[in-house]
Symmetry: D3
Subunit: 116 residues, 6 copies
């Protein structure tokens, strides 16, 4: 199983477990989180790129993986994503580089998976 | 003098002083920072919105002010900016709220200044 | 006008302005934020102390001020709050010290105001 | 060996190694850290919940694991811990979600281990 | 009164107030903090530069001011400090720039004060 | 293969892949990052210690590993590095402890490797 599949499976399994817990606040937060990336005054495609850039400067690999998958589905091209990576790198500094390596690897994995 | 003018003046004065220092690394970083927001595979308008969202989740008021001014100049409308604020709020949590207050105030000041 | 009154007034004015904006996501986030500190499996008093400690390690003075006011209203005593400050200081390190100074000053202001 | 046992073993082994190094500052910091969670004006049980919430908003899985183990030993119930998780989620935002997944998994592991 | 004097006075006044509180944990932390910058296997001069760089990447103006004053007293020259600023800028990214402006201003104020 | 070799290999492989991407901004950032640690008004040895301390307070294990390898090559002794670890611990707090464990392990691995 690829690293991306492992991540997606674990994420799904634990999100299901969290909903099972049935904490009202947490459930409402999850709904709010989903709603934030829907088409509105800003289109969903642009919002996903915002989510990706925010995840990179905050240095969260799981969040980066999730938003790269969404960005690829939304139709962003590699060269466009590299430019978003660059903005995150300049804003967040060299401490972002390990997450840039992770992001580039994830993007490559997404493209490979799409071809197979 | 408005809060925005004070910020812009101080920023300009200190940036000039920093360039006067003539440290090669710092000067090259400033150039890199400017270049990151130019039209390329991603247009400058989208990049400014990325910069704004990154500034909000990293909770830097000066960076927020700078990018709001740029976003307004780039043509983003209030409703679109509010949606970017919302993404930043959901990603970064309630700790972002004081910076959301600042951002909304700055955006209002920008619009007032444009009208006068 | 005291520093605390200035903060409370500004906070109220900008929160009103934010609700006026009428962005659905932001409004729902504000409701979620309020709900998180209500009595539930954990009592409101304990939750406010969690909010205060989180605000200190994340180094947000406005959030610290807000939660100290709430903690004082909820009935926490100075010695108890100092112990929470200490946990925040140990977890977050000396970078928290400027916010500890702010927190102690705010707490003193709250007590003075209550006496006058 | 379970993930929790692996963590506990590694933590113990490296803490022993760190004490062996015999750096006075580091040793005193470790003592201060231990002392911060002892009964005082605030009881140890409440302090552990503060430590857990601080660890979640600062997004440190090892610290989360450590404090969940302590919170379970101190007698906090699942529903109470979920409410602390919710405060951390609202304060820290969606960037905390991967750590919420980790925290829920760790708590489930603690309960399973207690039953076996 | 200059900005530096105001900072130093406020810092002293609140540190005195914090010691008056007489919380054992907090007092021991303050002692530990002071001890960390004393001559040992590393000299105090080098340690102050470490403290300054850490303060810049963590983006704390009060900490920056404190460590710049110490660095100037320890004998670091402007060109050396600019190189430390550059390391902090590269590690921490453009989000550090507002704090770089603050740091350069503080350093200039220190030099002026020394001449008068 | 040791943990350090795995890290170094992955780092090299992904850095090569990133340069292959040929994004001008990212390439220039990598050059700037390399240049920041060269001898200048501050010697390279001191700068590596700044980079290490910054990496610890920002809590990035990959960055810590990289700078420890560089610090060992630059000639820093264990006792000196422990003092830098202590500064990072005091500045950054107990949230740094998991990264202190990692750093001590990495340093031990570096010394073992040098002996074999």
């Amino acid at each position: 199983m690829s690293r991306l599949d492992e991540f997606t499976n674990y994420r799904q399994r634990m999100n299901d477990r969290i909903l099972e817990i049935d904490n009202l606040g947490i459930k409402r937060f999850f709904n709010l989180d989903t709603a934030a990336y829907k088409d509105s005054a800003l289109d969903a495609k642009t919002k996903e790129l915002l989510g990706l850039t925010a995840s990179m400067v905050l240095r969260c690999n799981d969040c980066i993986d999730y938003h790269i998958i969404q960005c690829v589905e939304a139709g962003w091209k590699d060269e466009e994503l590299y430019e978003a990576f660059n903005v995150a790198l300049v804003v967040g500094g060299s401490i972002v580089i390990p997450h840039l390596r992770h992001a580039v690897e994830t993007l490559d994995l997404c493209r490979e998976q799409a071809q197979s």
